[in-house]
C-alpha cells in the first residue's frame, strides 16, 4: 500500500517527520518498507515567466527567450520549442539543475548564443499528460497552476509530498486504504482523525427507474449496491485529486474513473462505473457465467468464462467479471452521460479462484481476495456520489440498490484484562487497554468487546492481546526466561551419528556440499539408468519451475556429479566432496505421503585413486564403529563394471562404491576418473557399535611374521585374507598386505601376495612352536584355493 502523506494529512494531523512517522507506524504494526519523497530527483528547477521571445541570429529552429525566474536579472534561455510566447509560465531548470533519470543541466551556448538554463517539458520532469491534462507532450510545459516566478517547481506542481510504502499483512485488508491507515495513525499517536464527507444532495431520477438488480449467487455476493448519475460531463478531475492519485501510484484518467479509484484507495472498497447506455435492458444480474460465454475485458483481452466464475450481467451478456475487471464495451468513454456506480462485496476465495484461472490480477481482485467488509460498501458509494457533486461531474440520482446477503451481527469477545496481562506478562491498566481498543474503534459494553465489522481477523482473546500489545509497544513488554518444567535438550543418537560422519569425512579432506532435492528426470538418463530402472520412479512436482527441478531425486548421485562437473568445468584441479543427502521414494508410509531416506553421498576427482578412496571409506567406517564390513565385487549401474563394490556387513548392504562409468562421465563432460560412494545412513547407524569398550594395552610381546603366497591371478586377495584370519584365529592382531608381485619369477597367470602378520596372545609370550603351528594352519587352509607359500 502506497500512501500519500499529503492525503493522509487531510484526515489527521501528523506532527513528526516522515522518517519518524514510519518508525512509529512500523512499531505499532504497520510496517513501512520505503519512504519516497516525490520529486526527489528534481533539483534546482523553478517557475519562470517568459518576458520575451526573439529569433536566434544563426538558427531558424531556435528562439532566444528572456525569462524571469524571480532573480534580480532575467535569464537568457535558448530553446527549440515552438509553443512558447511572452507571458507564459514555464518550469526552468537553472544552471546545475538535475532532472529525473539523472540528467544534469548546465549553462552553455547554443549556436553561439549563451543559454543560462533550460525550459522543461512534462516528460523532462517525469510527468505525463495524465498528470496535467491541459499540457502537451511535445513542447514546453506551460503552467496553469497558481504560482509565481522563482517558486520551487515541486511545490508548484504538488510534488511536495511523500509516498510511504507499507507492507500490509493479509489479515489487514482494512489497512489497504488511506482511512485504514489514518485509523492506525490515530491509535498509534492517540489523536483523533476526521472521516471524509459523504453527504449527497441527489435530486436526479430515482435509481429504480433505470435498473433493478438480482443476485443469483448470494453466497458469492454478500452485498451489491448501486446508484446512478445522470448528466455526466466527462472531463479531467481537479488537481488535488490527480496529485493524490498520482502519489498513490495510480494514473489519473477522467473525473468518473478517477472518483472510483480515489474511493477505492480512500476506503479500500473497489468501485466500478458502467456506462448505462451500453447496458442492454434494465436488469443487472449477479450470476455465474454460462458455458461458452465470453467477455472482452477493459484491457482489450477476449476471455472465455467458465460456469464457476461470477459475473455481472445485463439482460443479454456479462458486463464485468465480478470483482476483477469490467468489460471494455460498457466502460466509461468521453461521451458517457449516465453512469451506474457499483459498490459491492464478493466472496474472496471465489474471486481468487477466478482471478487465477483467468490469469488476471487487478487492484480490485487483490483486495476482494482478502475478504472485504460488506458494511464498507455504503460509505464508499456515498463518498463517490459526494465527489461527483463536489466535482460537478453530474447529477446524482435518488434512491439506491442494496441487495444484502450477509449477517451484520457484530462479533463479541469477552474483555479480560487480567488474562491479557498474564498472557503478555505485563501490567497494563484496564484504562490503557480501553483507550487503545476505542482508538481502534472497538466498542466495550458490559465487559464485552464489540469488534468493528472491518476487523474480521479479530476472533479470540489472543487477538485482543495483540491489539493491546502492539499499541502499548512490544518494546515495553519485559523479557523473561521461561519457567516451567525442566527439559533436557540434546541430539538424538542418529543426529549425533550424522555429526560424527561429517567430522570423519572432513578429517579426510572432504568438503561438504548442499544441493537441490529436485532434479530433471533426464538426469536418470545421464547416470545411465535403463528405461525400466526402479529408481526412475520419482515423486513428481505438479507445478515445477522447470524441467530441471521437476522430480524429487531418488538418488543423490546426479546432484554430486553435477557439482563435480561444475568444478571440473571451472578448472578446479581436484574436488573431494560429500553430501548428507535426502532421497525421496514415492512409497507412502503410515504417517507420511512419501518415503524419505538419508544417504551419505561421496564423490571425488583429482585427489586419489580407487584404493585411496577405498582407504577413506575403510577409515571412516572403522571410526564410526562399524566392524567386519567387506567389499564385494558387484557391478552396479552408473559404475565401472570392473571397479565397483558393494560394501556389506553380514547380509546388510551398507552402500556401493567405485569408479564412475566412463560413459556416464562423458555425459557430464568430465575427462578424468571420478570415484563415488553412496552409503545408506540407516544401515550405517544400525551397524555401528557406538558404545566404545576399552581393551587393556598388551602386556606380552608380539611376534611378527611375513608370509608370501603364490596363487592364481583370478583369486581375490579377500580369499587369502579370509583364510589367514581363519587360520590364525584370536592370535592375529594385525594383518597388512604389503606387496603384490607379478612377473618373470612366477609362472604366467600367477601372482605373489605378501602379508605382514602380527600375532600376540593376551596372557603369555608366544613360543616359536606356537607361531609355527599357526603358520602351518594358515598354509593348510590355502590349499582350498590352490595358494601356497612362495619359495
Amino acid at each position: 500500500m502506497r500512501l500519500s502523506l499529503k492525503w493522509l494529512s487531510d484526515y489527521i494531523k501528523i506532527e513528526v517527520i516522515p522518517k519518524r512517522f514510519s518508525e512509529d507506524m512500523t512499531m505499532s504494526g504497520s510496517k513501512v518498507e520505503t519512504i519516497e519523497q516525490l520529486g526527489q530527483d528534481i533539483h534546482n528547477v523553478v517557475v519562470g515567466k517568459i518576458l520575451s521571445v526573439e529569433p536566434h541570429p544563426d538558427a531558424d529552429k531556435l528562439v532566444v527567450c528572456q525569462v524571469d525566474v524571480g532573480q534580480a536579472a532575467a535569464l537568457q534561455i535558448v530553446t527549440g520549442a515552438k509553443n512558447v510566447s511572452a507571458g507564459d509560465m514555464v518550469p526552468v531548470a537553472l544552471d546545475g539543475a538535475s532532472l529525473p533519470g539523472g540528467k544534469e543541466i548546465h549553462a552553455g551556448q547554443l549556436r553561439g548564443v549563451a543559454s543560462q538554463g533550460m525550459m522543461c517539458s512534462l516528460g523532462e520532469l517525469g510527468l505525463t499528460v495524465h498528470d496535467f491534462p491541459y499540457a502537451i507532450e511535445d513542447g514546453i510545459f506551460l503552467l496553469e497552476e497558481p504560482c509565481k516566478p522563482g517558486d520551487d517547481i515541486c511545490k508548484a506542481l504538488g510534488l511536495d509530498d511523500f509516498a510511504i510504502e507499507f507492507e500490509i499483512t493479509p489479515n489487514r485488508q482494512d489497512c489497504l486504504s488511506v482511512l485504514g491507515l489514518a485509523r492506525e495513525t490515530s491509535a498509534t499517536y492517540q489523536i483523533p482523525f476526521a472521516m471524509p464527507q459523504t453527504d449527497v444532495q441527489g435530486g436526479g431520477a430515482d435509481v429504480s427507474s433505470f435498473l433493478h438488480v438480482q443476485v443469483e449467487e448470494p453466497a458469492l455476493c454478500p452485498r451489491y449496491m448501486a446508484k446512478t448519475v445522470t448528466n455526466v460531463k466527462i472531463g479531467p478531475s481537479p488537481r488535488w485529486m490527480r496529485e493524490r492519485l498520482r502519489a498513490s501510484g495510480v494514473r489519473p484518467i477522467n473525473n468518473i474513473v478517477d472518483i472510483t479509484n480515489f474511493v477505492m484507495l480512500e476506503y479500500g472498497q473497489p468501485m466500478h462505473a458502467f456506462d448505462y447506455r451500453l447496458l442492454e435492458g434494465q436488469g443487472i444480474t449477479v450470476r455465474c457465467a454460462r458455458e461458452g460465454e465470453e467477455i472482452v475485458t477493459l484491457d482489450g483481452v477476449r476471455r472465455s468464462l467458465k460456469p464457476s466464475m461470477l459475473v455481472i450481467a445485463d439482460e443479454v451478456k456479462p458486463v464485468a467479471v465480478a470483482g476483477i475487471m469490467g468489460g471494455e464495451y460498457s466502460g466509461i468513454v468521453d461521451d458517457t452521460t449516465t453512469v451506474v456506480f457499483e459498490s459491492a462485496c464478493f466472496d474472496g476465495p471465489s474471486v481468487r479462484t477466478t482471478s487465477r484461472a483467468l490469469g488476471l490480477r487487478t487492484e480490485s481482485s487483490g483486495r476482494f481476495e482478502k475478504g472485504l467488509d460488506p458494511q464498507n460498501c455504503l460509505p464508499a458509494l456515498l463518498r463517490a456520489c459526494h465527489l461527483v457533486e463536489q466535482l460537478g461531474a453530474g447529477t446524482v440520482g435518488d434512491g439506491m440498490i442494496d441487495v444484502r446477503n450477509f449477517d451484520d451481527t457484530p462479533r463479541e469477545i469477552p474483555f479480560d484484562p487480567a488474562w491479557i496481562n498474564q498472557f503478555l506478562e505485563t501490567n497494563i491498566s484496564e484504562e490503557t487497554m480501553r483507550k487503545i481498543l476505542l482508538s481502534l474503534e472497538f466498542k466495550i459494553e458490559d465487559g464485552k468487546i464489540i469488534v468493528p465489522s472491518w476487523r474480521q481477523d479479530v476472533e479470540h482473546k489472543a487477538d485482543i492481546a495483540e491489539e493491546i500489545a502492539r499499541m502499548y509497544g512490544y518494546d515495553k513488554i519485559p523479557s523473561t526466561l521461561m519457567n516451567g518444567a525442566v527439559t533436557v535438550g540434546g541430539l538424538t543418537p542418529a543426529q549425533e551419528f550424522e555429526e560424527k560422519i561429517a567430522a570423519a569425512l572432513v578429517a579426510q579432506g572432504m568438503n561438504e556440499i548442499v544441493t537441490y532435492s529436485f532434479i530433471s528426470p533426464k538426469y536418470y538418463d545421464k547416470i545411465g539408468l535403463p528405461p525400466d530402472a526402479v529408481r526412475r520412479n520419482s515423486v513428481v512436482i505438479r507445478n515445477p519451475l522447470g524441467e530441471d527441478t521437476s522430480v524429487m531425486r531418488t538418488t543423490a548421485l546426479p546432484s554430486m556429479l553435477e557439482v563435480l562437473a561444475r568444478n571440473y568445468k571451472n578448472r578446479n584441479k581436484a574436488a573431494s566432496l560429500f553430501e548428507l543427502a535426502t532421497v525421496y521414494m514415492p512409497q507412502q508410509t503410515e504417517t507420511t505421503p512419501a518415503t524419505e531416506k538419508r544417504m551419505v553421498m561421496l564423490g571425488s576427482y583429482g585427489t586419489t585413486d580407487f584404493f585411496g578412496f577405498k582407504g577413506i571409506l575403510e577409515s571412516v567406517l572403522s571410526y564410526l564403529g562399524i566392524q567386519d564390513f567387506e567389499f564385494q565385487a558387484v557391478p552396479a549401474l552408473s559404475y565401472h563394471p570392473g571397479r565397483c563394490a558393494y560394501i556389506k556387513k553380514g547380509n546388510v548392504l551398507l552402500g556401493v562404491m567405485g569408479e564412475i562409468h566412463p560413459k556416464v562421465l562423458r555425459n557430464y563432460g568430465i575427462d578424468t576418473p571420478v570415484l563415488a560412494a553412496e552409503l545408506d545412513f540407516a544401515a550405517l547407524l544400525a551397524g555401528a557399535e557406538t558404545q566404545v569398550q576399552f581393551k587393556p594395552l598388551p602386556r606380552f610381546p608380539a611376534v611378527t611374521r611375513d608370509l608370501a603366497l603364490v596363487c592364481d591371478e583370478s583369486v581375490p586377495v579377500a580369499q587369502l585374507e579370509l583364510r589367514i584370519r581363519r587360520g590364525a584365529g584370536a592370535l592375529l592382531e594385525e594383518l597388512r598386505l604389503f606387496d603384490v608381485y607379478r612377473g618373470e619369477q612366477l609362472p604366467s597367470g600367477k601372482k605373489s601376495v605378501a602379508y605382514a602378520l602380527v600375532l600376540r596372545a593376551e596372557d603369555r609370550t608366544l613360543t616359536d612352536e606356537e607361531t609355527d603351528a599357526v603358520m602351518q594352519e594358515i598354509l593348510k587352509n590355502m590349499q582350498e584355493i590352490g595358494a601356497a607359500l612362495r619359495i
Partner: protein, 339 residues
Amino acid sequence: MKEQLDAIRTAAHAALENVRSKQELEELRVRFLGKKGELTGVLKQMGKLSAEERPVIGQLANEVRAELEAHFAECMNKMEEAALEARLQAETLDVTMPGTPRPLGHRHPLAIVTNEIRDIFIGMGFSIASGPEIEYDYYNFEALNMPKNHSARDTQDTFYIDDNVLLRTQTSSVQVRVMKQTKPPIRVVAPGRVYRSDEVDATHSPMFHQMEGLVVDHGITMSDLKGSLDVFAKALYGEETKTRFRPHHFPFTEPSAEMDVQCFACHGEGCRLCKGEGWIEILGAGMVHPKVLAECDIDPEEYSGFAFGLGLERIAMLRYNITDMRLLFENDMRFLNQF
C-alpha cells in the same frame, strides 16, 4: 716422586689447554690416565716408598687424578657442546618453506550456521525434531490456521504433488507433528529444507532452509518469547547485541512479531548491509495461536506457547557477507574452501 706427580699434572693441564679433537683428547687420556699411562706408571713405584711417605704421596696422587679427570671431563663436555652446536647449525632449515599439505575438508557454511544455532537452543533445553519434506497439505497449512483458499497461502507459492500433498513451504509443519505426537512440556527446534516456487536469483531459491522453534508449557508468556529469543540473539551475535520486536502477522501465531537485531556492521547508524535502517530482520515469531493448539489436541486454556522460524541461508549470508545465494548451492571448491 712428588716432583714426578707435579710434572705430570703440569704437563697434562698444558696438553689439555691445546687439545683440538675428541681423538686427541682420548690419546691424552690414555697417555696420562690410562692403565699404562704416566700416572699409573708413577703409582706403580709406590712400593718403593717408606711407610711414612706412602700415605702422603698416595693422597697427592689421588688429588692429581681427580683434578685431571675433572679437567678431562670438562674438555669432553666442551667438545660435545661444540659438536652439537655444529650439528644444529648444519641441520638448520628454512622454516619459511611451505609445509607439506595435509588438507582437511570443510563443512558447508549452511551446516556451520545451522549447527551453531542448533547448539544454542540445545543449551537452552531444546531437542531437535524433524518432519517430512514431502508433506500433507494438512500439516503445512490447514492445521496451521490456513484453510484452503486462505489468502496467506498466496505469499508462499507452493509446489504441489497432488491436491493434498506438497513440498512443505515452512518448517512450521513440524510444529503440528510434534504437538500431535508429544504432550507438553515441549521445547524443540526443527531445522530443514523448505520449498517455494521462487525463481532463482541472488536472494531467492526454490529450495532453502529454515529452523523452526516451538515451546509449549503451562504459563508460557509473550515476555518468555522475547526473553528467550533475546538470549538466542546474544548467543549468536554477541553479548552486546540489541534486539527489537515488531508486530507482524502469521496465521498460526497471535500475537505475532518479527525480531530485528541492531545492525552488527554499523551498530544502528544505517549502512548498506541494513539498507540504512540500522536493524536487520532475523526471524519471525509469535504466541502459538489457540486454534493451532486446539487442532493439535492441546487445551489452549491450560497451555500456551511460542513459536519462531528463521531462514538459515539469510543468517549464513549475513554471517559471511555472501551476497549471492546461488553460491551456496553451486558448491565450487573455491567457495567451500573458505569456511
